[in-house]
Symmetry: C2
């Protein structure tokens, strides 16, 4: 199909499709003349994926390009897939590069410490710094409790990784990491509201 039909099929404006082509997010079509190219079902699927990553997924162009490159060129081992996912969706610039408290936690928990470069460790260290900076003291045992719940979440997710196809595995891990985060955060808030409602609904402030 021509680019105009690709736009109609996917409901993406042609100017936007051309932007994705220039940014290297969408592969070029097959040139049928000096000024015309043909696009196929792979372009339709890729366009839908791009829209999901940039829109509800909330990724920047740069991050989306990293994710798409990981899908197109999967790393060597299944375990490396998760590293790609963590890198692609790593925290904001300025996350700490050293992480003494996380190192200590990992040792206490018996978790592996061998990751020299791990943006996720920096993200956790920064998050703990932020709690300190706001003088927000976590209750005793809170981190262990969070670890247990997130381990139960992660266990089910790792169980579901399709290991027979690296492309499918990368896609599952990268999209799952990015797109399930807002699901978890929304469910936490809804659960807070539900539990709060049951407990406090008719309880006025005490002052």
């Amino acid at each position: 199909m021509r680019i105009s039909e690709l736009g109609r099929t996917t409901k993406v404006p042609v100017a936007t499709i051309k932007f994705y082509l220039r940014e290297g997010l969408l592969p070029e079509g097959l040139l049928t003349s000096a000024t015309q190219a043909q696009y196929g079902e792979t372009h339709v699927a890729r366009l839908r994926l791009i829209r999901a990553l940039l829109g509800p997924g909330g990724l920047s162009i740069v991050k989306a390009r990293q994710v798409l490159q990981a899908i197109d060129h999967p790393p060597e081992s299944v375990h490396d897939l998760l590293g790609v996912a963590a890198d692609a969706v790593s925290g904001p610039a300025g996350d700490r590069r050293d992480h003494p408290r996380v190192h200590q936690l990992m040792a206490t928990w018996g978790w592996s410490l061998d990751d020299g470069h791990c943006p996720t460790h920096g993200a956790l260290e920064s998050a703990l710094d932020a709690l300190d900076a706001a003088e927000f003291e976590l209750p005793a045992g809170a981190l262990d409790h969070y670890r247990d719940q997130m381990t139960a979440v992660a266990q089910a997710e790792i169980d579901g990784v399709p290991i027979d196809s690296p492309a499918a595995a990368v896609r599952y891990v990268v999209l799952g990491t990015v797109l399930i985060e807002p699901v978890l955060l929304a469910l936490r808030r809804m659960a807070q509201q539900e539990i709060s409602r049951r407990r406090f609904a008719d309880l006025p402030r005490s002052d």
Copy 2:
């Protein structure tokens, strides 16, 4: 203390302090002459809180102002505190205002449906839409599993709300909602990596 000393004490540039004053994030000091004001410990504490919200907390100026206003003017009932928190940290513009699937889930789970205005419901509906748009199919029972883990998280958090002081309660809920989210997300990713390492470390791709 004068504004220059407030800056030295908190390590915040005076120009930045003046910006927070203009934006209404930081209350004015006590005027001691037409051009000089005195600041106290409450300003030091507030400045540290502002830096935590805008920096690692990742809030915009507008969101931070909402959070600070909630801390300064707590709502009527303890339950309303969580509503303030959810509003202050609600999802990006464009989250859906109708939410048929979330409504259905809540009914299935026996959760209350009486929230006419709930940005969190819209955020979850948008997150489910994003999974669809990316053609990412959640495994059977995955949402129920996520709900159970997030309920366990929320239960401990609601247990910890200090209900004797509305200001302390709002501060706990708002900051806890915002600042613990990156902790949970980092722990999920670290748990994924840990579980993946144990399971797949030496397993090459099958193709």
